[in-house]
Assembly symmetry: C3
Homo-oligomer: 337 residues x 3
């Protein structure tokens, strides 16, 4: 396709770049990786990356933007874009950008995010607006928490007061600590076909919290370990099929509501981070409005993507497929910002 | 194949229906999903499902049986068949049914199930026929437990007595609580080739018990959480290769013994639910005599199925392969009830 | 290829033999499995195994060596080779052997292994040469620990003293107990292309330690369970992409240092067993200088191997690919001992 050859798929060298660029290559795009010097060696190892642009720090991104525009690059944002560039830099980008930037404000503000979820009729944990109301275990999250930092857990009001003393965040959310198992659902919404897919599911692998259970209770007490929730990997999961209908419907309500709240709504990949209780109820802890790292488990497809496609479709590849389809139908503007 | 075109593969829309129908389609069958109204939207998403028959509740299954017979449907039972229809409705079905219905009585009665396992020389946890004998931690299971409900754990005789007060089941089994890791082995026995395969392995993802370890011991105590074992997902596993010989042999003894105990014995997919102790000994907690949800992890094949087949074979697809082979060899009656 | 047809790929029937022989077959080699009588039934099940040589016990290996040499077998060593034959028998083998035997002495001696890692600039846990220095939780490992045996954990100096009384090992290493999550990185170094690949990642599934977290803290205390670390399976994982650069670089330094310490250095598959701390720092607990059982998860490829190869490449298959390439380039001697 002549149209396709013109564009290159580009992203920052981090997070899920390998999957994004591999998927782009598999769909016939030229690929471009913007990497800091310490990552050049990593991304040079892979043949599906056609070109690496070096920058000193991720915050130097604006400096190479002209070059990217000249290359006809389409940027695929992932978790590192907001973490390292901030929302404003993302919004200011003039290079072609996959996804709706208007979503960024709704995602980054925990109160607006709750409003979105609540309007979508998606179950969220009880919120405490005042510490004096705390009547059960809570988790406290700073507004701009990224990658597992900026959380703490408190069993009750008293523990909350003690721990607040060491908590640096000024803005934070006090939420009920929902007891159940975590499960992350990776969605993809196509504004071209107007269909929502569940592409894969994972749970995070968090240090040190996922090793706590390996320390017998009597030993834990002597060690006085504080749990931390730093994500260092991912573990594949499937969901009980009887909960899958609800998982789809929650995703569709999130998409439908986004169209009302923000011009154009959300499209492309997003993730609902859920806790499932013993009553088999979902509780939505957070939404990530882009590709999440848990999809890295499924570079050659997942038990869900195989239900739609005969090819080995990762979320990264699904993005490239959407762009290809948009080019083919002359609707590229519809999916870029 | 003319013979094959005649039959359709059908199942209830739940549990492992997606995998079963995808596998059937991949083997060239027409597919049919019987779904309740709340699930129509789920099963309508997938192109490999040729037809959806709506019923109000699963218990209305008998009402559409004539239609299924007219469609030349072959029913593939899964976990929801016994859970929602009960054993009697399963036995009364007149539509073509994959698997041996005589197995149902042996599986559903926990005492008969133990007898089967013991006769097969398969290790089972110690049983306590009288509460006064309890001399170690025990797990108490109601006879008809399904999907993780109807269990409780007691550290000793005293705790047993306390917890029995809130336990509703009238018939129950008191078993030694075996300390070790759970592992579920997915077998497939072909009555055509007379061969047993291990197709895949998983562990269940249970709420809330699989999140307990993430709560530090000192916090757990304040929370007073009761563990529950509700299965909401599955996690992939492989087994140490030195234990694989025994896993095959246990499966084969279970099959051989079933031929003595029930006319025709067991065939098709079944699962041994094991605990492996630090001495590397299996302890068999339960047998499921049909496809289990853990196989949903392996829609595009597993690290085991790839050892037999060049195609991507799930348990669902393996069932369709068996039916196809039976049609080809004129042995369809041998595998249907 | 005429050259290839001459050689057969052979291994002991255990550990990762299925994967090794499947991979060899997929690359066009004839395959040979040396199995004890209790395993004949297991390995007879798979068509990709061309021939099974029975031996009474693994220690009878030398008795069939002439036969193997006559068959032009290339032995692929795995974990059972050192565990069952010992280092000396491995070194004495005269049959063609994949990998550098000089590595065995460096791997088997925990002090030399530490020296290797330290010289490679790879982070290792703090070591205590004298019990009186213990000022934090420690893990004590016998020198010849295999498959999860020969470990114990102590919270402090006092607990160390108590537990030493029941510890049988004469030579042991006292290491800081690093609190974080375990993660095993499966590398492959090609001496032909001089490139290092990360082929896959897993975590072990250990009994009983991986079930401890499922027992509520209040129940654990009554049970008085001692944690054990016996590996009975493996669980798939991916690593946070931002840690992948470091994972590659650690592997490369380990390879480069090995070339200085031992003639020829390490080649083929090896594994770094890491703990990742909440500060996102790796701590290397051990190196395994051959294929590890965690690769059994990825018989049909992994989320990493798919980044290099369009085929479904397991570590077992990667070994066969290397041998094939060496034959093609007339460099077979370079990779065999």
């Amino acid at each position: 396709m002549a149209g396709q050859i013109v564009y290159k798929i580009a992203t920052l060298g981090s997070h899920s770049a390998l999957q994004i660029l591999k998927g782009a290559k598999d769909e016939g795009f030229k690929t471009l990786c913007i990497a800091t010097s310490d990552r050049i060696s990593l991304y040079s190892r892979f043949k599906f990356i056609d070109k690496i642009l070096e920058i000193e720090t991720f915050s130097d991104f604006p400096k190479i933007q002209k070059k990217l525009i000249a290359e006809k690059a389409i940027i695929i944002p992932h978790g590192s874009f907001v973490a390292y560039l901030g929302i404003d830099e993302n919004k200011k980008m003039t290079v072609l950008y996959f996804g709706n930037k208007k979503v960024l404000d709704w995602e980054s503000d925990r109160l607006k995010q709750r409003e979105w979820m609540e309007k979508a009729g998606v179950p969220v944990p009880k919120k405490f607006t005042d510490a004096s109301q705390i009547d059960r275990p809570v988790i406290v999250k700073s507004y701009g928490a990224a990658g597992g930092h900026g959380y703490f857990f408190a069993k009750n009001k008293r523990e909350f007061a003690i721990r607040m003393k060491n908590f640096k965040a000024k803005k934070y959310l006090i939420q009920e600590y929902v007891i159940g198992v975590p499960l992350y659902i990776h969605y993809f919404y196509s504004p071209i076909s107007r269909k929502l897919e569940i592409l894969s599911i994972d749970k995070r692998y968090e240090t040190n919290v996922d090793s706590l259970g390996r320390i017998p209770s009597q030993n834990q007490q002597g060690l006085g370990i504080e749990p931390s929730f730093v994500v260092v990997g991912n573990i594949p999961l499937t969901l009980r099929e009887s909960l899958l209908a609800e998982a789809f419907e929650m995703g569709e309500r999130v998409v439908a509501t986004s169209k009302k709240l923000m011009d154009g709504g959300i499209w492309g990949p997003f993730c609902l981070e859920t806790i499932i209780t013993p009553e088999q109820k979902f509780s939505i802890i957070e939404i990530s409005c882009r590709i999440v790292a848990g999809t890295n488990l499924y570079v050659s497809g997942s038990p869900y993507s195989v239900l739609y496609y005969d090819r080995e479709v990762s979320t990264g590849r699904r993005i490239a497929m959407e762009i290809k389809e948009a080019i083919k139908k002359g609707k590229l503007k519809k999916i870029l910002n």
